[in-house]
Amino acid sequence: MDVNELKQEEVLSEHPVLVQKIRSRFGKSIIETAVFRGEITHVIATKDIADVCNSLKYDLDFQFNFLSDIIGTDCRPLNSYFEVVYQLYSIPHKHRIRLKVRVKEGESVPSVTSVWKSANFAEREAYDLVGIVFTGHPDLRRIYMAPDWEGHPLRRDYPLVGYKDQYNPCGVEKKQ
């Protein structure tokens, strides 16, 4: 263990409930834990995310009854995966946590709409703009872009000027 790792362990032990307790409860599903600027991030195995969210919502120690947001990120070219970030908040305990799953192109994420209804729009947005597919979502269709839109605008390979079509003569020619 080098100095940095020791320091990180020290920081983690400062959060008994949100780090230690969650780690002991969901240890099998947690891939990684990080603390930055006092914010705690747990990276969760993709297949377990809905179950972990469900337990976090109803467990009396955590009570994460409020989903602030779901964020889809295209991590290329730094990494080859996409990230889905869940910002949770507990109104009774007044604490926040961030969960994260990493998926490769073509993989899908279990939907959390059955845990929080507010996930509906948030997951539709992540699908529309980043192209992440959520399994079990009741109504997964585009939200901002038109239903027949091609591509996902927040991906790194999506051209800033858009693709060329009859409405956008200045766009980039689409590769076949």
Binding site: N65, S68, D69, I71, K94, Y144
Partner: protein, 391 residues
């Protein structure tokens, strides 16, 4: 003869005076009753998040003005606070107080427009005229401050663009003195008005549990009886130094959401008057020469300052690798900015958690089973602004 009834689909908007902008609501009707309300949005989508990825950190501030354009100050605040959190930058006391004063003024002006436009939608034409009378006074104050009346671009990373101008404190104090009486005036117009009560009481009822589950925030959530205000529960800036109450409703109907907004305006006035009394002297900007550009008069007279200014404007500054989420209590609810940084001068990803966007989900559960005319009341009670819904 048997009467045949069948479900009808009605398109409300995107060009409709009472949808507060370009919302397209697909209503499924059974006679006069709503079976399902499906919001179709995106008519104002400008790709703010994509724009942010291609700009320096400081360059995105004016774009945030165009999110919730009725309360630009709080949008600026949410974004600059997220960047400051990422940088680990602390701003001086006076800067914090000025930020509180301007964002509370912004809250009042936003609520005034919300209630005024709501009155207009339900046929109480007078209300909007009174509301604009006071809104005008706030816009005059902001014009003194930064020269703009709608898109302020007043806050910057590390502080604010300029100190309070001469005469601002006096004019603001004067406004705060007369404002509570004006709120009483609005209440005589609406709170006891029989038509207003019939159009809002018992309409669009949402229980506390459903409202939390749907992600409702701000006065709309507090109308359902959930006492959650980020200013109280996770105090940012100097909100923990002020004495103010968080109003909550009991029934969760449109009337409670209206009453929460009315009371919040009074409380905002209380916060401003305390902040004006406590206002400390000193600098408004953080002492961080590589992030905050020097005062303009130094840029003209001092070689060093000119170099710093040029460097910050043209190159920006590097940020540590990491990710932060910073949320504030905007007039419409929780406004959050998630920033992921890869260590360069431009954000790797910016995600805006716009309160109006999330709040919009509750239109369907609130209007199911209600009459068509009540949908107008329900939409207004959420006070959506399409600049931030569509981003």
């Amino acid at each position: 003869m048997d009467l045949i009834t069948r479900e009808m689909t009605l398109n409300m908007g995107p060009q409709h005076p009472s949808t507060h902008g370009v919302m397209h609501l697909v209503l499924h009707l059974q006679g006069e009753k709503i079976v399902k309300a499906d919001p179709d949005i995106g008519y104002l989508h400008r790709g703010m998040e994509k724009i942010a990825e291609n700009l320096l950190y400081g360059q995105f501030v004016p774009y945030t003005d165009r999110l919730d354009y009725l309360s630009s100050m709080t949008n600026n605040l949410g974004y600059v606070m997220a960047v400051e959190k990422l940088l680990g930058l602390e701003i001086p006391e006076r800067g914090k107080y000025i930020r509180v004063i301007t964002s509370e003024l912004s809250r009042i002006s936003s609520h005034l427009l919300a209630i005024g436009a709501w009155g207009l939608d339900l046929g109480a034409m007078t209300m909007v005229l009174y509301a604009f009378r006071e809104r005008e006074m706030i816009l005059d104050l902001f014009e003194m401050l930064c020269g703009a009346r709608l898109t302020y671009n007043y806050m910057k990373v590390g502080g604010v663009r300029g100190d309070l101008p001469a005469g601002f404190v006096e004019k603001c104090t004067e406004f705060i003195k007369i404002f509570p009486k004006r709120v009483d005036e609005y209440e005589t117009l609406l709170t006891g008005n029989r038509i207003w009560l019939q159009r809002t009481k018992g309409i669009g009822v949402l229980s506390a549990k459903d409202a939390t589950d749907l992600g409702l925030t701000g006065p709309s959530l507090r109308g359902s009886g959930v006492k959650w205000d980020i200013r109280k529960d996770e105090p940012y800036l100097v909100y923990d130094r002020f004495d103010f109450d968080v109003p909550v409703g009991t029934n969760g109907d449109c009337f409670d959401r209206y009453m929460c907004r009315v009371e919040e305006m009074r409380q905002a006035a209380r916060i401003i008057s305390q902040a004006l009394q406590q206002l400390p002297d000193g600098s408004v900007n953080a002492n961080a020469p590589d992030i905050v550009s020097p005062p303009r008069k130094d840029v003209y007279n001092n070689m060093e300052a000119l170099i710093h200014h040029f460097k910050i404007i043209s190159h920006g500054y590097k940020t540590p690798v990491g990710e932060v989420y910073c949320s504030i209590e905007a007039p419409k609810g929780e406004l959050g900015f998630y920033i992921k940084s890869d260590g360069t001068e431009k954000p790797f990803r910016v995600k805006i958690r716009a309160p109006s966007f999330v709040n919009l989900q509750s239109i369907d559960p609130m209007s199911r089973g209600a009459y068509f005319a009540d949908v107008v009341s329900v939409i207004s009670s959420l006070d959506p602004v399409f600049g931030e819904v569509d981003k």
